[in-house]
Structure formats: structure tokens, C-alpha cells
């Protein structure tokens, strides 16, 4: 009786709290509340729920500009941008570009030497694997079956030649039956 009453109150309280939370906070406030809980440090935590800037070949015009907070001179420049563009100098045009974009296409597409690191690391681990396999062959595997002995393989090959295995393009076609040797 009292257990059921306790569960009911707990459920009602949590439902009431979640409803009030959704009603009073929009998404931005919600994330801000949690960011305040987690970051006691000086740096304000990045809000990944907001539109972000990306340098991507397949997304040439990102959702936001690169520079979010303009300095006084940059603000003045943005005002000047509202007038005729022919009055802008080359440096001002470049400054406006750099406000809007982080890297140019040429910069974002530049090649790098990362492939050398990747290939080198892959070969390094391949080498470690080779050492492991060598240890395994020496200490774990048993002996090879007798069918791998040189004498056995010779008898086996002789029998295959007697049977004329693959006489047109395969094994027996490479054997000279008159001279009793492999064809040159």
C-alpha cells in the first residue's frame, strides 16, 4: 500500500519536472544550462547544437561566417561593404573574405605528407605481425605432414605426370615425355 503510494509520488514529480523543463526552456537555453553545469573553466564551451562553420569542398557556402565576433575595424569594414564594392581596396576585399571564410579552396585542398605516416605505420604493424607469426611457427605449430617431404612431392609429381594431369595447358603439357624432362 505505502510502496505503491511512494512510486506514484515519484512518477508524478518526475513528470511534472520534465514538463516544466520543456515549457520553460527552448533548445538553446537547455544546452546553455548544461554547458554552465559542465564548464567551470574560463573558456566558454562550444555549442555544437548551433549551426557551425565547415571548410568542405562539397559544401562551398557554410551556414555561418568564420569570424563570429567582429572587432571595431571589422565592423566598420562590414558597414563599408554595404556601399559600392568598387570603393573597396584589394586588402579590404581579402579581409572581408577572411571574415567569412577560414581557408580558401586552395588551402583546404592542399596535399599533405600524412600518407607517409599511414603507410609507415601499417608496414610497422605488418612487421610486428611477422615476428608474432615466426614465434608461432617455432613454438606453437606441430611438424608438417609427411606429404610435404621432398621425396613425397617427387613421387606425387611423377604420379601426376603418369596420369597426364591437364595435358593441354597444365602440368603434363610442360613435361617432355620423349626426353623425360621438363620442357625448356
Amino acid at each position: 500500500m505505502t510502496q505503491g503510494f511512494k512510486v506514484c509520488t515519484r512518477v508524478c514529480v518526475s513528470v511534472f519536472r520534465s514538463i516544466t523543463l520543456c515549457v520553460t526552456l527552448n533548445l538553446h537555453g537547455f544546452s546553455k544550462m548544461y554547458s554552465m553545469c559542465f564548464s567551470e573553466s574560463v573558456v566558454k564551451s562550444e555549442d555544437f547544437t548551433l549551426p557551425a562553420y565547415v571548410d568542405r569542398r562539397d559544401y562551398p557556402l557554410p551556414d555561418v561566417a568564420h569570424v563570429k565576433h567582429l572587432s571595431a575595424s571589422q565592423k566598420a569594414l562590414k558597414e563599408k561593404e554595404k556601399a559600392s564594392w568598387s570603393s573597396l581596396s584589394m586588402d579590404e576585399k581579402v579581409e572581408l573574405y577572411r571574415i567569412k571564410f577560414k581557408e580558401s579552396f586552395a588551402e583546404m585542398n592542399r596535399r599533405s605528407n600524412e600518407w607517409k605516416t599511414v603507410v609507415g605505420t601499417a608496414m610497422f604493424f605488418f612487421g610486428i605481425t611477422a615476428l608474432i607469426v615466426m614465434w608461432e611457427k617455432r613454438y606453437v605449430y606441430g611438424p608438417l605432414p609427411q606429404t610435404f617431404d621432398k621425396e613425397w612431392v617427387a613421387m606425387q609429381t611423377k604420379r601426376m605426370l603418369d596420369m597426364k594431369v591437364n595435358p593441354i595447358q597444365g602440368l603434363a603439357s610442360k613435361w617432355d615425355y620423349e626426353k623425360n624432362e621438363w620442357k625448356k
Binding site: M90, D162, M163, P167, Q169
Partner: protein, 75 residues
């Protein structure tokens, strides 16, 4: 103000250019590979088989095998 270092890139007809390149390329590559296979693999193989079968005597072959004693039901 225009810099003279870079030429203006192509802005129109990119898909058409891509299509033309790839349509021609598809035909050239597929016909080339087929021709290469025909003349490097198929024709030599046909020749080898006809050369083998021209003077092939299966009874003589059988006698050779029998003499080499590989059969279990006949000596």
C-alpha cells in the same frame, strides 16, 4: 584589380564535359579490354586446343598410362 596569375576556370557545362569524357572512355576501355583478352588469351587457347586434338590418339595415351601402372582395376 583583377589578378593575372590564374585563368578563369570552366563554370558551365561541367556535367556535359564529364559525360562526354566518360562515354567515350567507357567504349574505349571496354572494347580495348575485350580485344586484349580475345587476342592475348582466347585465340592462343583455341589454337593450343586444336593443335593438341589434331594428332591426339586416346588409345595410345591410355596404353601409356596403363604401362605407368596408375590404374587399380587393370595392370
Amino acid at each position: 584589380m583583377a589578378s593575372s596569375a590564374l585563368a578563369k576556370p570552366q563554370v558551365h557545362g561541367l556535367w556535359a564535359k564529364h559525360l562526354q569524357f566518360h562515354i567515350i572512355g567507357v567504349f574505349v576501355v571496354s572494347v580495348g579490354v575485350a580485344a586484349l583478352y580475345k587476342f592475348a588469351v582466347a585465340e592462343p587457347r583455341k589454337k593450343t586446343y586444336t593443335d593438341f586434338c589434331r594428332n591426339y590418339d586416346s588409345m595410345k595415351d591410355f596404353e601409356e598410362m596403363r604401362k605407368a601402372s596408375i590404374f587399380q582395376r587393370t595392370k
